[in-house]
Symmetry: D2
Subunit: 323 residues, 4 copies
């Protein structure tokens, strides 16, 4: 290789002027302004840009009067994001909520007894001894479940009184109606006519207490899940435009995109996820994968993903796009 | 700070002799031996050590005649691990399978039409045009679902003929019985009396076709999920010893540990996961978190986790521990 | 197992009252307040709590008048965090900066020609054709390097004029002195007497142009790295209290903790990292690992780590702790 | 939307036959065969496919008689992969090794005193008390460093005897020549004329002891790094074909691709990494990003990346491609 060839590799030059924005971070001169900070994220690069895109897309959902689906995993409700989700519903921004069963369990407990800040590293066997359940850096004393059991038995008596076989959305709505806490997700959903979908209703303590209830009180009660799936599909078919905010992955995220398939895909999509694309999982799959399936529509900048743990960014998204 | 104090920080010394093994990797002298390679993982450190521990724990599950729960996410069945899971069941190693609905969908398709190797990066809109669905680096041509629809309608006719409301385990078993492919997970499960739990049965194409079936043929069919949860709990209560291998997270993993809670925790546990602990998710929670809840027992080296994408390590675990 | 035993597993109860805070998220009632939002992160759980801890520790660094080490990887300077780092130095918050060679390269380019917003997914061969280098979702047209080459040759002439063998800190300082951009990290560091450590100075385009310079102009120039290491150690030994903010991992992070070992460990430490603990890497190692080495002191809440991509959280940390 | 339109979304069909391989996992019937297992990875999907590609590319490096660069981070040498790296060099497969300073430090210690298997979770303050340093799940008793200090002082006396200013490659080679352990990476490199590049030589205990040596014995010794960079560039320019195996990221990975830029890019590339693409880091950047820079050539399947922790997959790659 001649020296000149080598130089051409190292310093090839370029005569192309790019018309995109300059990369440029927040200017900390002058008084701090939160709105401008988040605007600067658009030109900060990496995940900051993704957050700025997400805010933009969430705003367009509202401009277009989209039917907004919010999906979240149970740990979102374990954390302080519960209050943020409840606020979004209370203010009328959410049309459909899809989640997993732990969300229902924990939202109810929190109406009466708080979860407590804890530690990531703890002696687990000792915690078990003390009756403390660990959930990341959150502690849940076991007496919460003693209380919950009583509460649910009373609720079950009413819930199954007329009909023995019910659906998860009915469960969530009627349970929400019994609650007396403005920060409750289930209460706000019930009050604002937001259906709460939760197909795997058994997979948390509500399932455990349904088991005991069937053993001890009424073995014929049941939960049927096809009715709900029909409604969720039809919610979508009736919507002119849909928007999806998926906080975490799993069944809730897939339930939302799968049922949007029936209408030719979701129109606006924001994912917040820590999932890994390279494991081929649904949780880690970025929005573009869903385009090939027709679960998300392909249009100019109508979807994005923020690779981040949700407690860090979801409140920012809400503050910027929904206030 | 004096020089001597500083030196004490940098070179403090230690008079303690550790009795643990030396760190030492595989010796590539002499003829290559697969068994010895995996043994060397025990002293290689980092995740290799975790894999070696997992092999050890899986062997102890067998020595103790444990009831073995295998849980997996749907993408495991999308991948070539489907054949590995089927082999484990065929050889009698698995007593309970817990999974999500995509697994059922895709296992049935594969009995008739293969999934194809694809690319991670693809033009998604073009794929949609061509009728190709992308799942990581796997391609699924859409004709698979045309075929599946026909197949399932016939099955539904029989399945709901006697009783209108059925359970996911019945669904999986009776569907498995119709299949004619020794590499099918559902067929092997049906043939070997291994129940297949799948509470969120709607959340995949089987759900979509149940929707169409109710629209077009019989609006009264239903899927009830409490019966299955009872059985799963009782499977556990009747077992002297339980072992759990969780490939991926999500509902299947939680379903297994939650029902093991009733019997005081699972005895032996191996997780394979790409989940992130720091997001507080169930999928990312390492086994020790489940100890505080009583979902896993605390004993000498009875649980471990391999932080890895499953296709890389699950076949090695099977080859070493179950052959 | 009797029914009662089983119940004791499922609902063990707990008579312990925990004195920690209740988990509780931001209250979106009333006018939005950024400061209160970040305060609510302390009780939101998961990584939000880590960010709140980081803010607290960064404030204590200032209260204690600690010598503050800021370390960052090169991509931080590629992104809009460059302006944030420059602001921190300009305002006098940083005493020592440790980084890698790309930071120097790119900071200089940006004084004259901006980096441009780009796309994560691009046709790489086509980009090469067009002379556009991709760095995540940032585009760097190749003409930047043509300009840089000229600029550096002039600088090298002066820099090596008196002495042929120089150090990375001298390089950074004298280069910074030539720059005319208040948002330049190197200029601010030079103006504020903040040494910039960069042991692997060759590993970026400045290295490439040093190669060409030695080929074409002066084969005897050299970069010596032991002098800098001595100074960095002594910086630490002379400090009563040290604080470390490591944005990303690699050599810069390790350089800071390793030299703090000489003084018995850093006093206050914040890591922002996407590294994986389970790979045994220095980049993924959480602060507590460094305690065993004596590189970080063990005290009440004197260190923490935020598992997050830095562009999302570093501006928040700066806004909350340094304003 | 009419029913028919909706159906077209859900079951669009496809008339395209794909010519790629069927997805199909290892067949556990018959006797287990390690070679066939790894071949089945090609059609298993997800990261298994990436490993199969890596094996293929590593074989092509050898077929083409490529100059092979191996890069690794320090923790690779901390782990049992040290013996695997030494074997590769001993057998003549490696032409250039690039690493960080911890690798040199730890390889020397291991010639005399082993590292010990430890635990991920440990009481760090107690470990410090006991003089045990933790490195992931590996323990390094502090007496190793007492021994190392003596050993290095003797070495420094000789190394700096003739010339006061030396290079990292000279350091590695002459140090390697003093060692008496066939499993030592440095010894094998010295014996087989494989240069070991390590620009940030100070950033580990060898740096610490150079500091003390300059304090106590000879303040004029120095390490110059430009000479090495010239050689590394010229190694590349003289090669017809180059192959790169990057185990982990950081400076070593970038040093290899940056110097390959001079020759128009590396020809064959395998990355093994846990890095995250979305953080814009060099460590997380997949091979295609380097194509836009001209650091890797674009050809048919000449590069790949395995997203995995190296101890799990590097021994498999070596066993399959280099035996
Ligand atoms: N092929 C599919 O993935 C597919 C198809 C149709 C429907 N669905 C539906 O999507 C929903 C969500 O899927 P899910 O609950 O099966 O799990 P998921 O794909 O969401 O994965 C859950 C978690 O498991 C872990 N994981 C997944 N794959 C892994 C791997 N290869 N290696 C290691 N860890 C891994 C990850 O931490 C991930 O976050 C389900 O209801 C499912 O039926 C999925
Ligand atoms: N034992 C040690 O790790 C050690 C000891 C002394 C000094 N140091 C110093 O610390 C500094 C930083 O270390 P580094 O530059 O060697 O790299 P690093 O440990 O910071 O790792 C860099 C990146 O490589 C990838 N990686 C690391 N280990 C991996 C694995 N097992 N599998 C897959 N990917 C992996 C990760 O993406 C990681 O972020 C260096 O200067 C080094 O000399 C390290």
């Amino acid at each position: 290789m001649t020296d000149d060839e080598s130089r051409d590799h190292v310093v090839p030059g370029s005569d192309e002027a790019l018309s995109t924005d300059d990369v440029r971070g927040y200017d900390f001169r002058g008084e701090f302004d939160f709105g401008e900070l988040l605007e600067s994220y658009a030109t900060t690069g990496f995940q900051a840009t993704q957050l700025a895109e997400a805010i933009d897309i969430a705003e367009r959902m509202q401009d277009e009067d989209a039917t907004i689906y919010l999906t979240c995993t149970s740990n979102i409700i374990s954390s302080g994001l519960r209050e943020v989700v409840a606020a979004l519903i209370r203010k009328g921004y959410v049309d459909v909520l899809i989640t997993t069963s732990g969300s229902l369990t924990e939202d109810v407990i929190k109406t009466e007894k708080p979860f407590k800040m804890g530690e990531w590293d703890a002696d687990e066997a000792e915690l078990r001894e003390r009756g403390i359940n660990r959930l990341g850096n959150i502690f849940v004393p076991s007496d919460r479940y003693v209380w919950l059991e009583e509460y649910l038995y009373d609720f079950f008596d009413d819930f199954f009184a007329e009909e023995k076989v019910r659906t998860p959305t009915e469960f969530a709505r009627e349970l929400g109606e019994t609650l007396d806490d403005e920060d409750s997700v289930l209460k706000q959903a019930a009050d604002n006519d937001v259906p709460v979908y939760c197909p795997a209703l058994t997979d948390a303590e509500v399932g455990n207490f349904l088991y005991y209830y069937r053993q001890g009180y009424d073995s014929e009660v049941g939960i049927e899940i096809l009715d709900d799936y029909d409604s969720l599909i039809e919610d979508g078919l009736l919507s002119d435009t849909t928007g999806l905010i998926a906080v975490g992955g799993g069944v809730p995220k897939h339930h939302a995109i799968m049922t949007n398939l029936f209408r030719g895909g979701a129109d606006y999509v924001v994912y917040i996820s820590t999932g890994m694309e390279g494991d081929g999982s649904l949780s880690g799959a970025p929005p573009n994968e869903a385009v090939s399936w027709g679960k998300i529509k392909e249009a100019e900048k109508n979807y994005t993903q923020i690779e981040a743990e949700a407690t860090l960014v979801f409140p920012l998204l809400v503050a910027a796009a929904f206030e």
